[in-house]
Amino acid sequence: MRYEDVVCPFCGCLCDDLEVSVEDGHITEVKNACGISRSKFMNHGANRLEHPMVDGKKASLDSAVKEAVDLLSKAERPLVYGLSSTECGAIGKAVEIAETMGGIIDNTSSVCHGPTILALQQVGESKASLGEIRNRADLVIFWGSNPTEAHLRHITRYSGMPKGMYVPEGRKGRKIIVVDVRETGSGKLADRFIKVRPGSDFELLQALRACVRGRELPAEEVAGVPMAEVKELADQMKEARFGIVFFGLGLTQSEGRHMNIDAAVGLVAELNRHTKFVLTPMRGHYNVAGANTVTTWQTGYPYAVDFSRGYPRYNPGEFTSVDLLSRGEVDATLVVASDPASNFPVDAATNLAKMPVVTLEQKTTPTTMMSKVAIPVATAGVEAEGTAYRMDGVPLRLKKLVEPPKGVHPDEEVLDMILKGLKEAKR
């Protein structure tokens, strides 16, 4: 059996042209995929969490769910975290669980593009779907992002190589500029690499904005870039027919954080007085955009949402997972499709290890190993259907290609069991 036009559940590019061959219920071949994607498909069966576990011992699904419900319903300040590597149905259930418990729901954007959203809430954003870039952009800027290592097909599929309606020459019809603190793989591929002094992106963005406005700056260099080069870049941006800034964690998680994005948005908005210019965050996990999207339509807010007063409240810094855990405010955590034990700062991870944790995961991870309850789930996009939102907000349908291991259910179904249990326990 060969499946065509399969959507890849790895990164925010959500490439939808994969061809996957399945024989005897196993994936035997993957075409058109990048290395990471192929590995995800081919090895989705490796290192699986094989049974539901309670206190490190094998348990039945029923007893694991019961234990999960028990410890979550006893908690006074429970947290639901993760969600960016699962499909939207599961995300919706997770929001309802948090609401039912009067707990907090947060997703991984609080440690990646959260600052992007804060900037959007301050000043807005001028953006476009990736096909607009493919068809029109003649100037493509990667700022603090490195697609050749993080979004492997981005340049070939969307932003650099493909021929588009008004860019019939493909790569030759576009100028690519990379701005970063060091020359990355993407930098080598660019027409121009601009090395910015670490922690100084804000200054460079503001200087560019001033230049676009026609202001003279009494400086010889900004952020390590000679003034002449800053002016030249500003002119190049103004003269583009259609420009785009793709930015990554190099901007959102370095000195200045949301202020960097604020400056980038301001620069791009200013450029729209001269030409067409947009910007788009390079979202990492394949459905982190979906986690923000679903949480927003259900609660009004994209992440860091607290239900302890019955209605949703939003306050990044207060209700974001790392902050809550570091301060020791949480007394139980439900982790879905994420591995905070490996990724969180040490204070947060240490406190996480001290409390009862329920984890829904496909694989054995440091988080499942330290969880009181770990429940294996099907891999969305391989063993289960659902919706995912691309980095530019385009929703696509994930396919089910093979059956999950026996007795293993999709995230949404397991979350629904927990939700029903929690509602029952409340009565």
Partner: protein, 567 residues
């Protein structure tokens, strides 16, 4: 579900000629029936007003645009926080309510059907996912066509047949209900940072005009026999002097032959924003009289108000260049969002202020349109939620239409421009309860071609609203009472089930999503798909196979077959 009997109310069912008569309405199996037996649940409507459930034909409730509004405006949500209830979900309200709250609040006002007015096909799944999380009400979404690459290409090539096949296919692929057109050609030009200059301006890369786009789509719409006419957001929105463009646009659809069974060929949306006379925002005045005069003389047009409300709201349209202008005028935060090959959108928060001369004129234009268009069957009350203001302000608008005193009291608090630059002070018309039923349900249902909605005849959907106001004794001076009654229905019945009682949600079933299945001859469809397939490969970033919305996104669906197209 138990049968139900709505007993003893004054019934307003204008589609069946019922004007405030005291009668009982029997409901069984989700339908209005002749009578029900003993054992039916009795809803005591004695002394109250009974109408079919409200039908809103233009609102922004689901999809990427409203969700950008929600995302960018935490400060809006803080004004209106909604706790979880025993059977209801929590959320937020005000200008960008969360999906659950949207469903509850419409139902609390006795509305049971709401149309999402702008769906970009590429993100149609997003719209449907949100509609599925919008409880109680029935809903549908209008697919954006006016700046779609294939539309522009087939109009340029004069390929009418393929345009027809394309409209049929894309409605099906996106599960849309109607043909929506937003600033035709202007949004395409905006992709290079420009707009189109009125009805006969140039759509840059195609060498066609908005006039051609509208004519072609209106013809196709009627030939396919779609239940609703084209649903049009005119060029030049928000530009003083634009009432002329609006009238010219209406005139474009005059020569189009309507589908069987109706006289209309065009619905023009939120006309308040398109009925500006004067030459700039400093001297703007009401263009409503000119528009009304045209509409009164031309039965092929329907329109809705887009009434302005004095409050802080969030503007959101598929009209990218207009939202850019509004950002430049206000300096408020601005989101622009262009969608490849199809559409665009912009979102900018905005506050209508009573002491602002232009805003007070805008307020007056909406009300004037409602009063000066003589036939309530062709002018519908909307606020273009949330552009003119949140839909939760509908009861205030109803009061302005039904009570001159309500208007006078409101105008006393406004900038003097309302007296000088509109003719409202000399307008004594007051809507009757029957007029109100027409403009908020019977007329909108008819315009949409929703044959089972907007009336209470036998066989109609069992969607009923009961309001705690006695139409026999109510006087226009008591407009505050009217506002209260229409803001919190005594009962709302959806599909035969009582969902709201005394203004509180008591049940939250899932409503259906309506969409239109239009067909063209198979050979023509094949020819279209050959072209679509080729173009998708060249220009889209999703594959054609991943484009159409799957059945999984329509757990409760109601399909309307278009009446034409096959021949």
């Amino acid at each position: 579900m138990k049968d139900a009997l709505i007993k003893g109310g004054f019934v307003f069912d204008p589609l069946n000629g019922v004007d405030g008569e005291k009668m009982d309405i029997s409901l069984s199996n989700g339908r209005v029936v002749e009578k029900v037996g003993r054992g039916a649940e009795v809803v005591d409507a004695t002394g109250m007003t009974v109408m079919p459930g409200g039908v809103d034909l233009h609102s922004h409730i689901a999809g990427s645009k409203i969700n950008i509004g929600r995302l960018m405006r935490p400060e809006d949500h803080r004004k209106d926080q909604v706790p979880k209830g025993p059977i209801t979900r929590g959320g937020v309200g005000y200008s960008c309510p969360s999906t659950f709250v949207t469903g509850y609040r419409y139902a609390q006002m006795g509305y049971t059907s709401v149309m999402e007015a702008a769906m970009p096909p590429l993100s149609a799944r997003h719209v449907h996912e949100e509609l599925n999380d919008t409880p109680i009400i029935d809903k549908a979404a209008f697919t954006l066509f006016g700046n779609n690459y294939f539309t522009l290409k087939y109009v340029r090539d004069g390929d009418h047949d393929r345009l027809k096949a394309f409209v049929a296919w894309l409605l099906r692929a996106s599960r849309g209900y109607a043909v929506k057109i937003v600033n035709p050609g202007g949004v395409e030009n905006w992709k290079w940072g420009r707009n189109v200059n009125g009805l006969d301006g140039n759509v840059d890369d195609y060498g066609i005009t908005p006039r051609q786009i509208i004519t072609s789509l209106a013809r196709v719409n009627e030939e396919l026999g779609l239940p609703h006419t084209i649903h049009l957001h005119c060029n030049n929105l928000g530009m003083p002097g634009n009432y002329k463009t609006t009238i010219d646009t209406m005139e474009v659809a005059k020569a189009v032959k309507p589908a069987d069974g109706r006289k209309t060929t065009i619905h023009v949306v939120h006309v308040q924003f398109n009925a500006l006379a004067g030459s700039n925002w400093g001297n703007v005045k009401s263009g409503a009289p000119m528009i009304a005069e045209y509409v009164n003389a031309n039965p092929h047009v329907t329109l809705d108000l887009g009434q302005a409300i004095f409050t802080d709201t969030t503007t959101m349209t598929g009209d990218g260049p207009w939202q850019f202008n509004l950002w430049n005028m206000t300096g408020n935060k601005w989101v622009n969002s262009d969608v490849e090959m199809e559409a665009g959108a912009g979102v900018v928060p905005y506050t209508f202020k009573a002491n602002n001369p232009a805003n007070s004129v805008q307020w007056g234009i909406g009300v004037e349109l409602a009063l000066q268009v003589k036939d309530p069957w062709r002018v519908y009350m909307t606020t273009d939620h949330p552009n003119g203001g949140p839909f939760t302000f509908y009861p205030q608008v109803m009061a302005w239409l039904m009570s001159r005193k309500a208007r006078t009291d409101a105008m006393n608090d406004m900038n003097k421009a309302i007296m000088k630059r509109t003719d409202l002070a000399n307008n004594y018309r007051e809507y009757t309860f029957s007029d109100l039923a027409v403009t908020t349900r019977a007329g909108t249902a008819r315009a949409l071609g929703l044959k089972d909605k907007g009336h209470l005849g036998v066989g109609a959907d069992a969607d009923v609203a009961v309001y705690r106001v006695n139409p026999e004794t109510w006087r226009p001076s008591q407009y505050k009472e009217l506002e209260k009654a229409f803001g919190r229905a005594a009962y709302t019945v959806k599909g035969g089930q009582v969902v709201v009682k005394d203004g509180e949600v008591v049940a939250a079933p899932m409503g259906a999503t309506h969409w239109v299945d239009a067909r063209v001859p198979e050979g023509l469809e094949k020819e279209l798909m050959k072209d679509v397939e080729e173009e998708f490969k060249k220009y889209y970033t999703v594959s054609l196979r991943n484009y159409p919305v799957e059945d999984a996104y329509l757990p409760v669906q109601l399909v309307h077959r278009a009446t034409g197209g096959e021949a």
